[in-house]
């Protein structure tokens, strides 16, 4: 239980250059702890005497001296985001100063907060319910603008509104079935596959659609495993650096400079690419390079997206052709690079192999917008603007899949001539799955989620 009550701290604004940065401390004793690093401007007042919802101006210090000016906000339990005693130190936004302040707080006895731990504490203290907590957790983990937007949409209920419709359809069907069996002597209209079938089919289609977009949702949240391949010196590393916005790979004109796989997560528009720059696929005698080529090969096999780069300023080589023929059977985009040096390549040949071809200049950035568009299409999120319902996580996907299975079963039972009481078992199952997804029903699965996600108790 001691970890429960200990004070946690973290920079709770984005770790990026900004005008303001906030360090949040939460847990019993947070104020006393903050007092060790924060000195109010007014010598007669103490932070620990402050009631909740008050602000105090002062400065933060570490062993080496003054760090920054600061406003300390005090929240008293249970009236805070986490439900615990909270102090927020609003400092100037410089990364160096923020990090130094955080280190001072940690040196004073706070523990660095794990990802989502503030939310976890808020949940444990009853400040957030599970589904809202889930959305916040996704928001924290969201890497791109679109991901953040989708997490917000989930929070505001896009998924739930869609499921509400399905649920109502099914509840209607279940109510019909109930009336039909519970009042056998009343003249309630006979229920037939013709009346029930279309209702079930509509519900099934809606759930199936949600499941289909799950993968797109996953792409948005987690990014796409992407591999850049190409013969030596076609400009893979330049492209990577262009995309990543900084020098990452070593770029030299000597072929074979990139011997290993370089990992970088970059954002191309709304799409997050987990990018691996590879050593290419050329035949080589160099033992070290051969290892690199083998790795490239295995990396290619598991990638969700290939960016096949060609040097547009020269005719295709044997290596180029071999690679092109390998790459084109995967989800790939052919990138004809170095257009700034003139177009010598056999573009016809490339276009005959690849569905998606982009002509760019990695060095001066021409054609990147076209590349972005092709990437969106290739990873299947074109047309998704972040407001449509997307299932947020595996738990939700599991429930939806369960629901779909029940509905398929209900339809099969109905068409197979099973009695309606059997059909109703499947409809009940589908309703239960939806209620579990939306958190309207408590099940062991939800209970497990509480314990798994929020590591409480045993």
């Amino acid at each position: 239980m001691s970890t429960q009550s200990s004070v946690i701290a973290a920079v709770s604004t984005a770790l990026a250059p900004a005008g303001l940065g906030v360090i949040r401390l939460s847990g019993e004793g947070a104020v006393l702890l903050a007092e060790q690093v924060f000195r109010p401007a007014s010598k007669t007042r103490r932070l620990s005497d402050q009631p909740g919802y008050t602000a105090m101006y002062g400065k933060v210090y570490d062993r080496e001296g003054e760090i920054d000016e600061c406003v300390a906000l005090v929240f008293r339990a249970p009236h805070s985001y986490t439900g615990e005693e909270v102090v927020e130190l609003s400092c100037h936004g410089g990364l160096y100063l923020l990090r130094r302040t955080l280190r001072a707080v940690l040196d004073a006895g706070a523990r660095p907060a794990e990802a989502g731990e503030f939310t976890r504490r808020a949940f444990i203290n009853g400040k957030l319910d599970l589904t809202r907590a889930e959305a916040v957790m996704d928001l924290i983990a969201a890497n791109g603008r679109l991901a953040a937007k989708t997490a917000l949409a989930a929070r505001e209920g896009a998924v739930y509104r869609r499921l509400e419709e399905v649920k109502n359809t099914l509840l209607g069907a279940a109510a019909n079935l109930s009336a039909y069996v519970d009042y056998p002597d009343d003249d309630i209209p006979e229920l037939t596959p013709e009346t029930l079938g279309p209702q079930l089919a509509a519900a099934r289609d809606a759930v199936r659609e949600l499941l289909d977009t799950y993968d797109a949702g996953k792409v948005i949240r987690e990014g796409v495993d992407t591999v850049i391949i190409g013969s030596p010196n076609v400009g893979k590393s330049t492209l990577m650096n262009r995309l990543a916005g900084c020098e990452r790979s070593i770029v030299t004109p000597i072929a074979g400079t990139t011997r290993d796989i370089v990992e970088e997560t970059i954002r191309l528009g709304d799409v997050l690419l987990r990018l691996a720059d590879t050593a290419g696929l050329h035949a080589t005698e160099d033992e070290v390079e051969r290892i690199g080529v083998r790795r490239t090969q295995s990396r290619m096999d598991t990638a969700a997206l290939l960016l096949a780069v060609f040097d547009g300023s020269r005719p295709l080589t044997e290596d180029d052709r071999r690679m092109a023929e390998k790459a084109c059977c995967q989800n790939a985009i052919a990138i004809i690079n170095k257009t700034d040096l003139g177009l010598e390549i056999n573009e016809e040949y490339i276009r005959s192999l690849f569905e998606r071809v982009v002509v760019i200049s990695a060095r001066d950035g021409n054609g990147l917008a076209a590349l972005e568009k092709e990437v969106r299409e290739a990873v299947g999120i074109n047309g998704i603007d972040g407001t449509e319902p997307l299932l947020a996580n595996e738990r939700q996907r599991f429930c939806a899949a369960n629901c779909l299975e029940c509905l398929d079963e209900a339809i099969a039972a109905l068409n197979g001539g099973m009695t309606l009481d059997a059909v109703q078992v499947s409809i009940d199952g589908a309703i239960a799955a939806i209620l579990e997804l939306t958190g309207e029903r408590t099940t062991e699965a939800v209970v497990d989620e509480v314990f798994a996600r929020f590591c409480v108790g045993k």
């Binding site: 009853g126 056998p184 039972a413 078992v425 408590t442 409480v456």
Partner: protein, 631 residues
Amino acid sequence: MKFFAGEYEVVVIGAGHAGIEAALAAARMGCSTAVFTINLDWVGNMPCNPSIGGTAKGHLVREIDALGGEMGKAADATFLQSRMLNRGKGPAVHSLRAQIDRREYSAYMKHTLETTPGLDIHQGEVVSLERQDEKWKLITKLEEEYLSQTVIIASGTFLQGKIFVGDVSYDGGPDGMFAATGLTDSLRRLGVSLRRFKTGTPARVLKSSIDFSKMERQEGETPVVPFSFETGGLLENKEVCHITWTTPETKAVILANLHRSPLYGGKIEGVGPRYCPSIEDKIVRFAEKERHQVFVEPCGLHTDEMYLQGLSSSLPVDVQLAFLHTIPGLEQVKVMRPAYAIEYDCCDPLQLDSTLEFLDLPGLYGAGQFNGSSGYEEAGAQGLVAGINAARRVKGLSAMRLDRASSYIGTLVDDLVTKGCTDPYRMMTSRSEYRLILRQDNADERLTPIGREMGLVGEQRWQHFTVRQEQKAAERKRLRETVLPPSDKLNTLLVSCETTPVSSGVRLEELLRRPQLDYNKLTAVDTGRPALDPLVMEQVEVELKYEGYIRRQQSAIQEMRRLENRLLPEDIAYETITGVTKEAQEKLNRVRPRSIGQASRISGVSPADISVLLVWLSTHEAGKGGGRADD
């Protein structure tokens, strides 16, 4: 002058359907028991429908019987006509319903009470109930004083009963009996929260004044399926029912006189049953409906009184006559007893534990309409539960708690004590989430072992049951292991039943699974079939055909039971758990759920509250070391 008249281990107040089962169970379990009734001529009276069973209610009767109750046997002994409802709609919803000779039924029950050892019967109204040390003191209107370790209140519609017919209203019980007026004050003093419910019944009319030629005849079904697993021999239908419909004129008469209804005039404060509305309710609420069905049912072999199901009403007598005369076949009908509504006191069942004992009043139990239910079967089921638990308490044994997956009885009790009710609670198949498992055909399999453990299932019955179970297991094995080779004979049969022929050997089991086939149709090819109990055949066939669905429900049950097994300590002060909403705190404090599972079914307690409760529970358990110490 008051005098001490005797002491019992179990006293039952009321000898209706709940009281009878309670008293019989307690006495049969070896407790010195007394049952009090206001009028001994009306033990087990049916003041409304002269019938027992129906959808879900038929299940309840089967379950009462399987546990060792009396209702099924009494119905089998006194029925006039029997039908299995919902035959075409699947085994989960097959429901037995029988018209009953109500005089005979009452006589059967009275005699059963009279001949049960250890059971005293007293005509008398209990007017006072109070705690005396560890016991309960009861005083009757005639100033007899009794002591008892436990008391079961099964007061039906008698408590502060008030009759309404049009403008006229007076204090009274059902069927012209006196109301019970004293007990309400005692209950209030004990802290029991009471409320007003109402119910109603249609007119009884003279058979010879009905023109049956204008009605549809409804025959009973043969062979008659008995309620009781113990009833043997051939049963015969003795009477028929008739069906007619209301007309636009009926509607016009009722609408024109609605202001004379005490319900619409605001005189009745009690809440009526949603599922059994009066004819004026039906006409107002389902205005678009052209006509409403009316069943004309016999009340007994030795009476010409007929019951008009579907026409319960509290309109004045002249209006009743006027609207009856607009119905085909009833144009000249003579009313013997007018329809009436009755309003009565009942308790809020959220005050009860799932043993039907009051959470705050040890040894005091409630059963039947007193608990807010409606229906003879619902009453009988609760009476049995209360009777068994009172006896177990007297004997210092752990309580019998039936969960939702065990039975409709368990579902009924759980609904009442967890969700409560805002109108008289009627059992329906849709109230159970485990319908394919809680079938009427397997009630014995589900509950007879429990009845045996309670001491209500005798040696002979137990023998019958175990023999049947063995036969069933052997038959399942035979079906699994018998392979029929493909033959012209088999394939001709299959094709004639509109199912696909076979090209290689096929297990009997696989054939029986097909929706198009059944035991009957397979007789010609299933030459090795031993003589089988029809009940065994029915159960085996259902289990095979619905295996996948049954499995789905079984896994749902397992999941439910996991939450049911996460017990909550008895003494939680919910208002101290931060994060649980105010509404949930209040509800939890009131219901005092035994487990997380039960807590999650309370309306107003959200899954968010449950997650908070779980977190609280896990830290609490870490600090202490477990849930409840009792059973």
